[in-house]
Amino acid sequence: MNAVDPTVRPGVNETFVLNLGPQHPAAHGVLRVKMTMDGEYVMRAEPVIGYIHRMHEKMGENRTWAQFLPNTGRIDYLSALHYNHAYVAAVERALKIEVPRRAEFLRVITSEMNRISSHLVWWSAYLIDLGGLTPLLYAFDDREKLLDLLEAVTGSRLTYTYFRFGGVYNDVDEAFVRGTRQFVREFRPRLKMYRDLVTTNIILRKRLEAIGPISAELCRKYGATGPVLRGAGVAYDVRRAEPYSVYPELEFEIPTRREGDSMARYLVHMAELEQSLRIIEQGLDKLPEGPVMGKVPRVLRPPAGDYCFAVEAARGRFMVRLVSDGKDVPYRVKLRTPSFSNLSLFEEASRGMILPDALALMGSLDLVIPDIDR
């Protein structure tokens, strides 16, 4: 335990406040952390958020149900399709809209591709935080191949609005299926290269092993989910806890590690890449023929009441709670985002750590700041 021993210099308080951000290379966006430091040790790290608050929940009350769709892609832009999914599925739940099977499979395939591209960005940014600038060049090369495939189908590279109430708006063609299978074939050897070059690298291991332990109980008290919770030994995945879409028909594991340190969270992320590849392969194998849009009423007026839907986004559990009063504009849209809960435990988890270790911990939480601020 690397806490400062107060008996060494009793009665002396030489702490100072160090401000990290809101513009900082390791801040992953506009996060400000007010750190009370004793030398290099962090006594208290208080995150200050709101620098990219973009009023998504207020816009939910000012937009029709369909007009809110582009917002969902911009809450967490790295895994936009998951956020699309939660919102359209919540409205489909309210209106009891049936989604055709082909559309469900396309949703799952594209969502898992989005999960891979999100994890690749996380990996690049995390390694940059730790001082390794090269993995970004490799990861972004792989990511571009994914983005080419997704762009051909959805029209966007980053902030997708591909899902619609009742299905998806564009069908995929042979070129997409061929290209995705080729990507899966080419990505597995790259994963092995990442493991050999980076994961087993002694510098990375020294930076991450035993750094920033987060227990399962701490996660439960703060509501942390995703790789943070799975790295603490709890095999919680919304795809298995509250199954949705066609995930029950697909075989995949929930990677879990018991150590709870930053290395555990890192390894969970890397293992999820392989599981996503498995899901994509199975999805392509089982992709049925058929329409990609179901029957949707002309005017959307969900019955009064509230409806929830949760998905396993790249960062953890994303839940939408919609309150409808029967009108064509939502009464309340509540967005429960994973990064908000994951960051809330940072203050307690980082006490007594030295600053570089605290940043290694923060990077392993996989934060996207607009996801926190909404």
Binding site: I52, H53, M55, P70, Y77, F140, E144, R157, T159
Partner: protein, 166 residues
């Protein structure tokens, strides 16, 4: 026996201003100022496929004292606006600003009646040299914006604007 030497192949003369403009245009050092989604496309522009370092601009500096180009990539918030202005003031002259993305140009998709948090365009805070529309703009659009800025500095484009065939 005398041989004629074409000195223009060995020595070139130009005005100092033009030389300075050329060197500044070809070595713009951007400030790492990714705020939101556009930041990812800015990172992709620095990646291997789009390769911003062809234009001398891959040296993203975290400190405003060492940067001469501020690429505002993302939404500027009313809470963030003082920090953005401070960063702009801390940059040394000569400095340039690229507003990347719809949010930096005009507030983007987050402007609605009753909005309370977004600054409608970063040019409300300080002057902007190049506007790059898009939500988010493609990395190629960012590179085109950098070339437009180079044209603004030197008066010449690196290569002509591509007009799509009719």
């Amino acid at each position: 026996m005398e041989t004629t030497v074409d000195t223009s192949r060995i020595v070139q003369f130009a005005k100092l201003d033009e030389l300075l403009a050329l060197s500044r245009a070809n070595s713009l050092w951007p400030l790492t100022f990714g705020l939101a989604c556009c930041a990812i496309e800015m990172m992709a522009a620095g990646g291997p496929r789009f390769d911003i370092s062809r234009f001398g601009a891959e040296v993203f500096r975290p400190s405003p004292r060492q940067a001469d180009l501020m690429i505002v990539a993302g939404t500027v918030n009313r809470k963030m606006a003082p920090a953005v202005k401070t960063l702009y003031d801390q940059m040394l002259e000569p400095k340039w600003v690229i507003a990347m993305g719809n949010c930096a140009i005009s507030g983007g998709p987050f402007v609605f009646p009753g909005q309370y948090a977004v600054v409608e365009g970063v040019d409300k805070l300080f002057p902007v040299d190049v506007f790059i529309p898009g939500c988010p703009p493609r990395p190629e659009a960012l590179l085109e914006g950098i070339m437009a800025l180079e044209e603004k500095l030197t008066g010449k484009r690196r290569w002509p604007v591509v007009t799509p065939p009719k």
